[in-house]
C-alpha cells in the first residue's frame, strides 16, 4: 500500500509536469489559432538559459528563472511578429497552419543545434535548487523536488486561471479563440493579447523544463525537447482547447505512467511506460475524438 501511494505521488508530480507543458501548447493554440511545436524549444532553451544565468553568471536561482522566462517569451514574440504574422498574411488558413507547424519544426531543430553548440552535448547539472531532503511520512518517502513540483505547478495553474477567467487579457484570449472575427469586431486586438499569451506559454514551459532538468538521475541535456513531446498525449486527452482538460489529462497520464513503471510485468518489454500514454491516446482518439474533456466542438480540430 505504501509503495502504491509513493508511486501515485510521483505520478502526480510527473502529471503536473505534463500539465504544464500541455498548458503551454494550449495557450499558444488559443492565442495564435495555430498549433505549433515551439513549446518544445521553450522547454529546452529555458532550461539552458536558466543554467547559464544561475551557474554561469551567478544570479539567484529564482531571479535566473524569472529572467529566463522573460527572455524565452521575447524569443517567442520575435518569432510571432517576424514569422507567424508574415505567413498568416500570405497564405490561406489551412495552408498557414501547415506552414506554421513546419516553421516551428525548423526552429525546433535550430534551437537544439544552438543549445549543443553553445553548451555542448554533455549532461549539465543545475545544482539542486530544490534541496535534496526527502521527507518521510510513515512508510512513504517524498522528495523535496516532488513537493516543489506540485506546489509550484498549483501556483502557476492558479495564476493562469485567474488571468484567463478574470482579467481583460484573458477574456480577450478566450474570445479570440472562440470566434476570431467577432472578437476583432468587438475591439479585442490580437496584437495586444499576443505578448501576454507568449509570456504565459513561455512561463509554463520554462518552469517545466527546469523541473525536467533537475530530476533525480537526470540533468540538463539537449534532448529535453523530445521529452516535452511526451506531453502531447496529455494535450489530446484533455481536448486541445480546454485548459482544465489538459491539466486533468496530464495528471491522468502521469499517474498511469508511474503505475506502469512500477507495476508492469517485464513481459511487456522495455519502454512500456513511455509508450503507454501514446497507446492510451490512440484508444481515446478512436472512442472519443474530441478528447475526454472537450467543450462542444463543431470541428474536430
Amino acid at each position: 500500500m505504501d509503495t502504491f501511494v509513493q508511486i501515485a505521488i510521483s505520478g502526480v508530480a510527473l502529471g503536473f509536469l505534463y500539465a504544464l507543458v500541455s498548458l503551454s501548447f494550449v495557450v499558444l493554440l488559443k492565442a495564435t489559432g495555430h498549433f505549433n511545436l515551439l513549446p518544445g524549444s521553450f522547454v529546452l532553451l529555458g532550461a539552458y538559459i536558466t543554467y547559464e544565468l544561475h551557474r554561469g553568471v551567478g544570479l539567484n536561482f529564482w531571479l535566473a528563472l524569472a529572467l529566463a522566462i522573460l527572455i524565452v517569451a521575447g524569443i517567442g514574440l520575435a518569432v510571432h511578429y517576424l514569422i507567424f504574422q508574415r505567413i498568416d498574411r500570405r497564405a490561406t488558413v489551412s495552408a498557414a497552419g501547415l506552414a506554421i507547424l513546419l516553421v516551428t519544426i525548423g526552429l525546433l531543430s535550430l534551437s537544439q543545434a544552438v543549445a549543443v553548440s553553445t553548451w555542448g552535448a554533455d549532461v549539465l547539472l543545475l545544482g539542486d535548487p530544490w534541496g535534496l531532503t526527502t521527507y518521510r511520512f510513515g512508510g512513504i518517502a517524498i522528495s523535496q523536488r516532488d513537493i516543489w513540483v506540485i506546489v509550484l505547478s498549483l501556483v502557476v495553474l492558479a495564476i493562469f486561471w485567474l488571468v484567463i477567467q478574470h482579467t481583460r487579457i484573458g477574456v480577450g484570449m478566450r474570445a479570440l479563440a472562440s470566434d476570431h472575427q467577432a472578437a476583432y469586431v468587438q475591439g479585442i486586438s490580437p496584437r495586444r493579447v499576443a505578448p501576454y499569451a507568449w509570456l504565459m506559454s513561455a512561463g509554463a514551459a520554462v518552469i517545466a523544463g527546469v523541473f525536467m532538468a533537475t530530476e533525480a538521475g537526470g540533468g540538463l541535456r539537449p534532448t529535453l525537447d523530445v521529452v516535452a513531446f511526451t506531453a502531447l498525449p496529455a494535450l489530446i486527452l484533455g481536448g486541445i482547447r480546454s485548459l482544465p482538460g489538459c491539466v486533468a489529462g496530464g495528471l491522468v497520464l502521469g499517474i498511469v505512467q508511474a503505475l506502469a513503471l512500477g507495476y508492469a510485468p517485464s513481459g511487456f518489454g522495455q519502454g512500456f511506460s513511455t509508450v503507454l500514454p501514446w497507446i492510451i491516446m490512440i484508444v481515446v482518439l478512436l472512442v472519443r475524438p474530441s478528447g475526454l474533456f472537450a467543450a462542444r466542438e463543431f470541428r474536430r480540430a
Partner: protein
C-alpha cells in the same frame, strides 16, 4: 472534360482532338520525353563509369530517401494529410527485407515486393485512424506512430536485434544476375555500383507511377479532396477509398525505401527510425516542393548531401568546429549539428519566402537563364502572324 472540349470545338469550328491527345500524353514536351530517357541512361551509366565510393554511397542514400520522399509527397502534398510517421513505414520495409532477404535469403524481387506489400498493408491499417482526425490530432497521431513503432520493434529483438541492431547482408540476385557483384562486358562491378543502378531505376519507376497517378481520375479526386472535402463529397467522391489508396501507396514506397536502406548499410538498428528521421522527411518534401514530381528528389539531394559535405569540408566552412562537441570557449557549431542548423534554417527560409519549394526556384532560374534561347511559342507565333496579316494593307 470531353464535353467541354467538344463544346469548345464547335464554338471555335476547329478540330481539337489532336490538341487533347497532345495534352494528355504522359510526357508532354520533348524536354520531358527525352529527358526521361536521358536520366534513365544516366542512372545506369554513371555507376559504371566511376568507382568513387563516396559519390556512389551518397547517390544511393539520396536514392532511397527519394523513394520514401516521393511516397510522403503523395500523402503530404497531393492529399494534404500531415504524416510525420514515415519512419514507421521505413522500419517495416527494413525489417521485412531483413526477414525475407537476409534470414530466409530469398532473391531480390521477393524481398522488395514483400517490403512493398507489408508497407501497403500497414498503410491500409493506419489510414482509417489518420483520416478520421484533422489538424492537431492528425499531427500528434502520426508522431505517436513513430514511438509505438519503435516500442514494437525494440521488443521484437529476434528480428531486429533490439537496441543494438543487427547485421543484415541481403541477397541481391535476380535469377542469374547478382547485383552484389555485377558481371557486365567482362568486368566485375562493386556492390555499390550495382545497388546505385537498382535504386535509381526504382526511383524512376516510383516517380513515373506518381506522375501517372496524378494524371488519372484517381489523382484528380485526391487533389479535389485536399482542396475542399465538402465540395468533393457533394460531387460524389468517396473519400475513404481514394485516401486509403493514397496511404497505401505512400507507405509502400516508404517501405521500399527502408528496404534499400538495409541494402546499403547491411546493418539495421531500430534507433535510426526515430523522430529525427520523421522531421527530416517532412523537411525534404517541403523544401523540395510539395506536390511536384521532382520536389522529393531535389529535397533529398540537398538534405542528404549537407551532412556528408559538411563532414568532408569542415575546415573551409566558417563557424564550424571539426572536433567533438566539447565546449572549449570558442563559439562554433559542431560538425554533427551543422546539418541540423542548415535544415532548420532552410525550412524556415523556404516557408517564409518561397513556399512552393526549391523546384519552383529552380524552374524560375532555368527559365530566366534560357530566355534568350527559347523559340517563341506557337501561340505567340500565331499572334504575330495575325498582327502582320492585319497590318498588311495592299
Amino acid at each position: 472534360m470531353t464535353t467541354v472540349t467538344s463544346a469548345r470545338a464547335t464554338l471555335a469550328g476547329r478540330d481539337r482532338s489532336a490538341d487533347i491527345r497532345r495534352e494528355t500524353r504522359v510526357f508532354r514536351t520533348p524536354w520531358t520525353r527525352y529527358g526521361a530517357i536521358l536520366l534513365v541512361a544516366l542512372a545506369v551509366v554513371l555507376p559504371l563509369s566511376t568507382a568513387d565510393s563516396f559519390l556512389l554511397s551518397l547517390g544511393i542514400t539520396v536514392g532511397y530517401f527519394s523513394i520514401a520522399a516521393v511516397g510522403l509527397n503523395v500523402v503530404n502534398g497531393y492529399a494534404g494529410q500531415i504524416m510525420m510517421g514515415q519512419p514507421f513505414f521505413l522500419a517495416i520495409g527494413a525489417f521485412t527485407a531483413v526477414a525475407v532477404g537476409s534470414v530466409a535469403d530469398l532473391p531480390l524481387p521477393v524481398w522488395l515486393v514483400a517490403a512493398a506489400v507489408m508497407g501497403a498493408l500497414a498503410g491500409v491499417l493506419v489510414a482509417p485512424f489518420a483520416l478520421r482526425l484533422k489538424g492537431v490530432y492528425q499531427i500528434v497521431l502520426s508522431l505517436g506512430l513513430i514511438f509505438i513503432g519503435q516500442y514494437i520493434f525494440v521488443n521484437w529483438s529476434d528480428l531486429t536485434g533490439g537496441v543494438s541492431g543487427r547485421r543484415a547482408p541481403l541477397n541481391m540476385s535476380i535469377g542469374p544476375l547478382d547485383f552484389a557483384a555485377l558481371q557486365f562486358g567482362g568486368m566485375t562491378y562493386s556492390y555499390q555500383q550495382g545497388l546505385f543502378m537498382l535504386v535509381w531505376v526504382v526511383v524512376g519507376l516510383c516517380m513515373l507511377l506518381v506522375h501517372l497517378l496524378m494524371r488519372s481520375p484517381g489523382g484528380r479526386n485526391i487533389v479535389a479532396l485536399r482542396d475542399s472535402e465538402l465540395a468533393a463529397r457533394v460531387v460524389g467522391l468517396n473519400p475513404a477509398r481514394s485516401m486509403v489508396g493514397v496511404f497505401a501507396i505512400s507507405s509502400a514506397m516508404g517501405a521500399v525505401g527502408g528496404a534499400f536502406y538495409v541494402a546499403q548499410l547491411r546493418f539495421v538498428s531500430v534507433e535510426q527510425f526515430n523522430l529525427g528521421m520523421g522531421l527530416t522527411f517532412i523537411i525534404i518534401v517541403t523544401v523540395g516542393g510539395l506536390s511536384t514530381s521532382w520536389g522529393p528528389v531535389v529535397g533529398s539531394l540537398v538534405i542528404c548531401s549537407i551532412p556528408l559535405l559538411a563532414g568532408r569540408y569542415a575546415e573551409m566552412i566558417p563557424f564550424l568546429k571539426p572536433s567533438a562537441s566539447v565546449p572549449d570557449g570558442t563559439f562554433g557549431i559542431p560538425v554533427g549539428q551543422f546539418s541540423v542548423v542548415v535544415y532548420g534554417l532552410l525550412l524556415v527560409l523556404i516557408l517564409m519566402f518561397e513556399p512552393r519549394g526549391l523546384t519552383h526556384l529552380l524552374k524560375v532560374f532555368a527559365l530566366w537563364i534560357t530566355t534568350p534561347l527559347r523559340r517563341p511559342s506557337k501561340r505567340q507565333r500565331e499572334r504575330e502572324q495575325a498582327r502582320e496579316a492585319a497590318e498588311w494593307t495592299p
